[in-house]
């Protein structure tokens, strides 16, 4: 077997292994598609630790070296709901909006600020980089049936018997704030292969996580009984204590007995290192030949263990309401004597139904696995200064895959400048035009990357929006020596 073929087998094995890991993951939604091959920007290594940026060494401007904000909604865009007729008059199109929703949809938002970053090349083939960042992410899965119920009413499910129950199982929530300290290393093994890895220590500050194993709403067509089936878990690690959820009864009874007001201490909050986590990135770059380069990376393989102020609430049970029992209808109509109820107080049917809900409260630590993202990319080098690339990325949330694909054109016409134009399919939306650029004004570097520029132009068409920008100090661009190394130069 040739060395080339053995590499192929190993490559396929790695891809399969990483794909399997994705099925156990929770997503945190950060997107790095357009930046993937922008080697002039040091932060591009975050998407593949095997990358080595052009600069021999760099320092990120503290607090502004990497500022990222992103938003995405796989379900719909505004123009799916608010449409224009032939006279250009807006109207609400509920049927179209509902047709666009998938059974499970995801909306997410995340932000990241890099407090400190630096990197350097060591003995030509090795590259180290370090970063310390604050990251906030929020994802919420929402099912289509939720909107069907709200907009159509429950009679929709009664009349469409093939639909089944209103299923809210895709409802989930994960909000997380954590700090990340990462140390990455990349090495050029030979002419063909670069490998890299990164170890990240994570410190969780706050988390709210909800997962529903079963969440259905049923309307019985014969008895009209309304039944809510639920099996949901809510885990939180927050600066304040929430306490057990109580349903029914007087509101006064549900007030916390602890009359102390909550006071937020930001220092205590930020230096909380109780919620420790560990994650890793892996990457490999394979130079197939002079024109084609393949890359595979898996980002955020890891977890955070939540220990401080943890609270767990597991809500299970069936809540059913089937109307007021009037007892003997024939007694009502006068054919027989009514049964004496002995003057018993009538039971509130709502309170009675809620008694079937079991809320199990505990304070056990828990772990949340980070959402690994797998990037599979191929680059075709057109010329020394131009290349095309194709990228496939997978995100998982609540057992559903949210894929994205990007086709990019990367150009570095002159040494200090690089551009990227990208076209992406993300969140089931085909209209995502991405743009990226870096400008080196020695030693400062400004960069700006966005997966989709349409939010600035036509926000109603957008399901994906993000922006990533920053300032670095970059030093020591290397001259082009052979195809395995980064290049710079102007040619069009």
């Amino acid at each position: 077997m040739t060395t080339h073929n053995s590499y192929k087998i190993q490559f396929r094995f790695i891809v399969s292994f990483v794909l399997l890991l994705l099925f156990a993951a929770q997503s945190n939604g950060q997107q790095y598609n357009t930046i993937y091959w922008m080697q002039g920007i040091p932060q591009y290594v975050y998407s593949n630790p095997a990358h080595q940026t052009d600069a021999n060494w760099y320092i990120g401007m503290p607090g502004t070296s990497s500022i990222y904000g992103g938003f995405g909604n796989s379900g719909f865009k505004i123009s799916d709901l608010l449409r224009m007729d032939e006279n250009n008059n807006p109207y609400w199109d509920e049927p179209n909006f509902l047709s666009k929703l998938k059974n499970k949809n995801l909306v997410y938002a995340d932000a990241q600020i890099e407090a400190l970053a630096f990197g350097f090349r060591f003995k030509e083939k090795n590259y180290f980089h370090f970063n310390f960042s604050e990251k906030i992410s929020a994802q919420m899965g929402y099912p289509k049936d939720f909107f069907l119920l709200a907009l159509e009413g429950n009679n929709y499910f009664v009349e469409n018997t093939d639909h089944g129950d209103a299923n809210f199982k895709g409802l989930g929530l994960n909000i997380m704030h954590y700090s990340e300290a990462g140390l990455g290393y990349s090495r050029i093994l030979n002419d063909k292969i670069n490998i890299g890895g990164k170890v990240k220590i994570l410190f969780g500050h706050a988390n709210a996580y909800m997962k529903s194993n079963d969440f259905r709403f049923n309307t019985n067509p014969e008895t009209f009984a309304l039944t809510l089936y639920t099996d949901a878990t809510i885990n939180t690690s927050l600066p304040m204590e929430i306490g057990p959820i109580e349903l029914g009864g007087d509101d006064d009874e549900n007030e916390s007995e602890n009359g102390d007001e909550f006071v937020f201490d930001p220092v205590e909050y930020l230096v909380n290192f109780s919620n420790f986590g560990l994650a890793g990135d892996l990457g490999i770059i394979y130079h197939y030949d002079e024109k084609i380069t393949l890359a595979l990376s898996v980002i955020d393989l890891g977890f955070i263990g939540w220990k401080s102020n943890v609270e767990n609430q597991r809500v299970t049970g069936e809540v059913m309401y089937d109307g007021i029992d009037i007892g003997n209808l024939f007694a009502l109509a006068g054919f027989v004597e009514p049964i004496d109820d002995n003057g018993d107080e009538p039971v509130d049917p709502i309170d009675q139904a809620l008694e079937n809900l079991d809320i199990e409260y505990s304070q056990n630590s828990y772990s949340i696995f980070m959402s690994p993202k797998i990037f599979l990319s191929a680059k075709y080098i057109l010329t020394e200064k131009h290349n095309f690339s194709f990228l496939a990325r997978g995100n998982f949330f609540e057992s559903k895959l949210y894929p994205a694909f990007t086709l990019a054109y990367n150009i570095q016409p002159i040494k200090p400048v690089g551009f990227t134009l990208a076209y992406s399919y993300m969140n089931y939306n085909y209209m995502n035009i991405g743009f990226g650029m870096h400008l080196n004004l020695y030693p400062f570097q400004l960069y700006l990357v966005a997966d989709n520029i349409f939010p600035a132009l036509q926000p109603h068409t957008v399901q994906t929006a993000n922006i990533h920008f920053g300032i670095n100090w970059v030093f020591g661009y290397r001259k082009k020596t052979d195809p395995g190394k980064p290049f710079h130069g102007w040619s069009f």
Binding site: G153, T219, E222, T223, F224, A333, E337, L382, Y409, L457
Partner: protein, 529 residues
């Protein structure tokens, strides 16, 4: 050459892509809240309102007047009972105080003994021919007077024996007394056996125990009495007497609230049961026996009973003290019971009289103080037949929620019925002062469909039905002040009452009432004018 061609293509591609956003143009109109069109929210909701689950146990319940019985075939019977009691033996038969005075002519010399036999006859209360009395209490007093002998200083001893009596030990009642003294005997647990005409023989032995009678014959006045007599048992011939047990009404709750209609029970019966502890042959006479509903009345007739007296059994002398039962069933083969029930009576009334010894003195009677007879009348209505009934009852309090955003309300009534009875229900809305507002549910449309039956009346399968009553917004306005719902119901058995049905204990009826509401709300996003 190829590279130059590629560069040209790439240039054009870049320009094309860069121009895309400009072709589309900037458009922020969707974010202008004031330009947003009004949104009409419209949805349809169905909610459970009422439910009623009934099986036979909830339809028919045991009460003071009604018993629900399930036979071995699971068929439901409604049973209504009444009973009358006669007076007890102690109340009907009593023994009056008895008093006897008789003279004995004594010719006795010194230390002589003379024996006298005196017959006394008890007078019964009526003209019974008593042969035996077993006493629980009583006193017998005996005194003998002879003034002449007293003057002469003679003392006599009297040894008295009541022949054919029993003092409780198997010996006759006997006692001793002296002249001018009174003797008293407690008759408790003692028995007197009488000869014909309630006669007793009293043996009196007179002995001179002191003094010497000098001038016989002497007349000794005997005074003997029986008082405060209470018996345990009387035997004899108690003659013919008439016991009036009075009258009674058996309330048939099944028809209590029926206003109109027809009903047919396939096998109704009236069971007569007599329990008798009198040791006397008795004939029960029904001086009145009829069913009635308001002005309608039908006499119960039947052969042999109640057209003829009903001879009830009596315990024999060997079984004295026991209760003997006699039963008779009035049914469709021996009476007009179908006619009796057909008027849907509220009551079955009867007036009973008992005649003792109807055949005369044919056997020895015995009566105990607690002897009694009871006549029970049980009307059995097995739910097998057909019916076409109407009933009326009072109201259910009810109030409508706010109706501003409700375009319509649709009452949906689902029934699952394994009882072979079709029900029609009319529901009228009234305000707080019982002013009529509107008929919500018309009574001419079947609300609950009967389960299908075979030719024997057995249910084949349950029947489901759905009734929808749509009330538009304008109609909701008419009944927004509703405070009471008045129900009128009509029921017919399967096949419009043309076929027999059977109702078993496992039959049940479930009624579910839901309300379907169309909600409409217009939301304006523009600025308020």
């Amino acid at each position: 050459m190829k590279a130059i061609k590629l560069k040209g293509i790439v240039k054009k591609l870049i320009v094309f892509i860069l121009l895309i956003p400009f072709w589309s143009g900037c458009d922020y109109s969707y974010l202008d809240m004031e330009e947003l069109p009004e949104y009409e929210y419209s949805s349809e909701w169905i909610l459970p309102l009422l439910k009623s689950k009934m099986n036979i146990n909830s339809l028919f319940i045991d009460s003071e007047d009604q018993t629900v019985f399930i036979d071995n075939d699971d068929l439901v019977w409604l049973i209504y009972q009444g009973e009358l009691y006669s007076v007890t033996g102690g109340e009907e038969y009593s023994i009056s105080n008895q008093s006897f005075n008789y003279d004995l002519t004594f010719n006795g010399a010194n230390r002589s003994k003379a024996t006298f036999f005196q017959q006394i006859s008890f007078n019964p209360q009526e003209d019974e021919d008593i042969r035996k009395i077993i006493f629980t209490s009583g006193l017998m007093n005996f005194s003998a007077l002879a003034p002449q002998l007293v003057l002469e200083g003679v003392q006599l001893q009297f040894d008295i024996t009541i022949l054919n009596s029993d003092d409780g030990t198997g010996n006759p009642i006997s006692f001793t007394t002296q002249l001018a003294q009174s003797a008293q005997v407690n008759l408790a647990n003692k028995t007197l056996n009488f000869a014909v005409n309630q006669t007793l023989t009293v043996q009196v032995e007179v002995t001179v125990i002191s003094g010497a009678p000098s001038s016989p014959p002497y007349t000794i006045n005997i005074s003997q009495s029986f008082s405060n007599l209470d018996y345990f048992e009387l035997q004899g011939y108690m003659k013919q007497r008439s016991f009036s047990l009075g009258s009674d009404d058996v309330d048939l709750g099944f028809f209590k609230n029926v206003v109109d209609g027809e009903i047919f029970f396939e096998d109704p019966t009236i069971e007569l049961e007599a329990e008798n502890s009198y040791g006397i042959p008795i004939d029960i006479h029904f001086d009145a026996f009829f069913s009635s509903y308001d002005e309608n009345k039908v006499d119960v007739t039947g052969n042999p009973i109640p057209d003829n007296p009903w001879r009830i059994n009596a315990p024999t002398i060997m079984n004295a003290g026991t209760v003997v039962k006699t039963e008779y069933e009035i049914n469709k083969t021996n009476s007009n019971i179908h006619d009796v029930i057909a008027i849907m009576p509220k009551t079955v009334s009867y007036d009973i009289r008992g005649e003792t010894n109807p055949d005369g003195n044919t056997q020895l009677n015995h009566v105990r103080k607690n002897s009694q007879f009871r006549v029970g009348v049980t009307v059995n209505l097995p739910l097998h037949g057909w019916l076409r009934l109407a009933g009326f009852r009072d109201t259910m309090d009810f109030a409508l929620p706010e109706v501003d955003n409700i375009e319509y309300l649709e009452l949906v009534i689902n029934t699952v019925n394994s009882i072979p009875v079709t029900s029609f229900l009319q529901m009228d809305a009234f305000d707080a002062d019982y002013n009529f507002l509107k008929t919500i549910l018309r009574g001419d449309q079947a609300l609950i469909l009967a389960a299908e039956v075979d030719f024997d009346g057995n249910v084949l399968s349950e029947k489901k039905s759905t009734t929808s009553i749509r009330i538009e917004k304008e109609e909701l306005e008419e009944i927004k002040n509703v405070a009471h719902l008045v129900f009128r119901a009509k029921v017919t058995s399967y096949g419009d009452g043309q076929r027999n049905i059977k109702i078993f204990s496992h039959n049940e009826l479930n009624v579910y009432v839901g309300v379907k509401a169309g909600i409409k709300q217009v939301i304006n996003f523009g600025s308020e004018e």
